[in-house]
């Protein structure tokens, strides 16, 4: 009961972080890959997802599960719609210029944060998970007294956490199929490869951009709804997912979705494991420095291919 269970527990926590991180980071990656826009307000879309989930689940007072399931649909749609409005009002008018959009999304970040502070308030608020049973997992040990089984409560995990991991996997597989097989996915990839050529073939670029921006924000919101029963909703919660998503997107190779998912698993797991055994601040320093050095010496990312 020393190293082993702690390690497994850290791995499970890490898998949870990785699942939510993968959703958020894929949202950022899609926006960057297709629109070439670095969306600094991405973390705020994440935060909005959590806050809207709280509003929905508290106003619909039938049963926690009903409210939560409703939030799972309503929050991403609302956040996606808001992102489309922001795209039409601001980003489109800047012609998606990479540097000016960064500055504009910084402005958006401040606005969203402040409006949330004024309406939602400075408190952290919990959302009740739809179901939350603890499962005790047995722990086997070959110790000095021979073979031992510790059960129940060798260590435990809640069903909700497992469900989050599975749900995230389903969404990501679905998204991947959507991008690889559907007509809209084809249009998106065409836009990513060559914007001018796509335009010449009659693809309505601006509409594609609006939808992509909405989709990216919606994915962040979805990740937030999933995590909010475990970690509470708070108006400043967007900072950390933003930074981690950046790290993941860069390590995975800018704009590459499979790379992003691989990197999310790598970062999520290592973040969980390192934070259990070392100082979390040290873990973050190592992660940020890693990103900086990856960008300096391997700008295509660890899993990306070098562009011609």
């Amino acid at each position: 009961m020393e190293f082993g269970p702690h390690f497994l527990l850290a791995t499970l926590e890490g898998a949870l972080t990785a699942a939510v991180l993968a959703l958020t980071a894929v949202g950022l990656s899609v926006v960057f890959g297709i629109m070439r826009v670095v969306n600094v307000a991405h973390g705020e879309f994440f935060m909005l997802g959590a806050v809207i989930a709280w509003f929905v689940s508290t106003t619909v007072g039938i049963h926690p599960a009903v409210g939560f399931l409703l939030a799972l649909v309503v929050a991403p749609v609302m956040v996606g719609f808001l992102a489309i409005v922001a795209d039409q009002l601001v980003l489109r008018r800047l012609d998606y210029d990479p540097e000016r959009t960064i500055v504009a999304t910084i402005g958006l970040l401040y606005c969203i944060q402040q409006v949330t502070l004024m309406t939602f308030g400075p408190d952290a608020r919990p959302v009740i998970p739809p179901f939350n049973q603890r499962i005790a997992l047995p722990w086997f040990e070959l110790g000095e007294q021979g073979f031992q089984v510790t059960w129940p409560w060798g260590f435990g995990v809640t069903t909700y956490k497992l469900a989050v991991i599975m749900f995230a996997v389903i969404i990501l597989v679905g998204l991947w199929r959507f991008l690889a097989r559907s007509k809209f996915g084809l249009i998106m990839r065409a836009t990513q490869l060559d914007r001018e050529m796509a335009l010449a073939f009659g693809i309505p670029i601006e509409r594609v951009y609006a939808i992509v921006f909405g989709l990216g924000a919606g994915l962040a919101a979805l990740g937030a709804v999933l995590i909010v029963p475990i970690r509470q909703a708070h108006y400043l919660m967007g900072g950390e997912p933003l930074l981690l998503s950046f790290i993941v997107v860069i390590i995975g190779g800018l704009g590459s979705i499979p790379g992003t998912i691989m990197a999310a698993i790598l970062i999520g797991l290592s973040d969980g494991i390192i934070s259990v055994f070392f100082s979390p601040t040290l873990a973050k320093i190592i992660a940020t420095l890693l990103v900086a050095f990856v960008l300096v010496y391997r700008p295509q990312g660890l899993f990306g291919r070098r562009l011609p």
Partner: protein
């Protein structure tokens, strides 16, 4: 030649009016102006890299806090007096800038922004990690008794104003001179078209490195000056927010203009100051101002003046 004398008159006029403002404004605004002048040095340093060389960094808080802690730690823990502590701060910032320049300048564009952002974040976390010495977010106060220079008490409001003015004037004149040298002209050429500047035979890598070094050291001067004059060093000054603020000030004032950083810093300072009088939601005002300015005034206030009224504006 007429344009040249215009420029000289403008620089002299700006510095003179800052001196005059000390005598005609209230003590409250004096304090604000001292703060604005110190922070404008930060903005000018940022502008040297962003406005003139065309490199958008999101990590200048690292240089600012390097100066701040370089001075703060050497005064607070090593008990150095002001001048040696200032020298330590500058040396330390120069070392940090050189290291960042060596690494980050291998990248360009968006990658450069993110690399600088990451290094600054690593710096911020390092300050938190060594909380025993840096006191983390809480920060530490540099004792009033230690903050004396040549027998002058730097905590005295009027002496503080003139110390801030001296820092500002030195940096302002340095920038005004540097951008008119062939070195400064070459930086503008790099901003406009790096490949062409390289083809014309300029060592663009060396120019960019030196620009980043100068920009970093100026930011460090501002950080050290801030710690010295206002007696406080804290990790907040290393956070992402303080990397974004100089960008905001420069964009508001007009990037690539000598005067822009001062105008932008003063404008943003009073925007926050005035709006926080009647609403606690000043960040909303700031955020809306950023979006509005990027949409309608991409060249900033001084940039608009240059475009519409005075094309000779430096």
């Amino acid at each position: 030649m007429r344009q040249n004398s215009n420029v000289v008159a403008l620089h002299a006029g700006i510095l003179a009016s800052l001196l005059i403002l000390f005598f005609i404004t209230s003590a409250y605004h004096n304090g604000n102006l001292a703060r604005i002048m110190v922070l404008a040095v930060f903005a000018m340093g940022y502008n040297f890299l962003f406005g003139y060389t065309g490199l958008l960094s999101l990590g200048h808080a690292l240089f600012f806090s390097a100066g701040m802690y370089g001075l703060g730690i050497s005064m607070h823990h090593l008990e150095l007096s002001v001048l040696p502590a200032f020298a330590v701060a500058l040396l330390f910032t120069a070392m940090v800038s050189a290291a960042i320049g060596f690494l980050a300048l291998r990248t360009t564009g968006v990658a450069f922004m993110i690399v600088t952002l990451m290094f600054a974040q690593a710096g911020y976390l390092t300050i938190l990690l060594f909380g025993k010495y840096t006191r983390g977010d809480e920060g530490f106060v540099i004792q009033q008794a230690e903050r004396t220079l040549f027998g002058l008490d730097l905590t005295d409001p009027s002496i503080r104003y003139f110390a801030a003015f001296a820092l500002f004037a030195a940096s302002y004149l340095f920038i005004a001179w540097a951008v008119r040298t062939s070195f400064g002209r070459c930086l503008v050429a790099i901003r406009e078209n790096e490949a062409r500047a390289r083809m014309l035979g300029y060592d663009t890598a060396r120019h960019k490195f030196l620009a980043l070094l100068a920009s970093g050291v100026l930011s460090g001067v501002s950080g050290a000056g801030y710690a010295l004059l206002f007696g406080y060093a804290g990790a907040t000054f290393a956070s992402v927010q303080y990397s974004i603020l100089p960008l905001l000030w420069v964009l508001l004032g007009g990037s690539g203009t000598t005067l822009g950083p001062l105008i932008g810093t003063a404008f943003a300072f009073y925007l926050v100051d005035i709006s926080s009088e009647f609403t606690s939601a000043y960040l909303l005002v700031v955020g809306a101002a950023i979006v509005f300015l990027t949409l309608f005034f991409p060249q900033g206030l001084a940039g608009e003046i240059r475009r519409r009224i005075a094309p000779w504006l430096p």
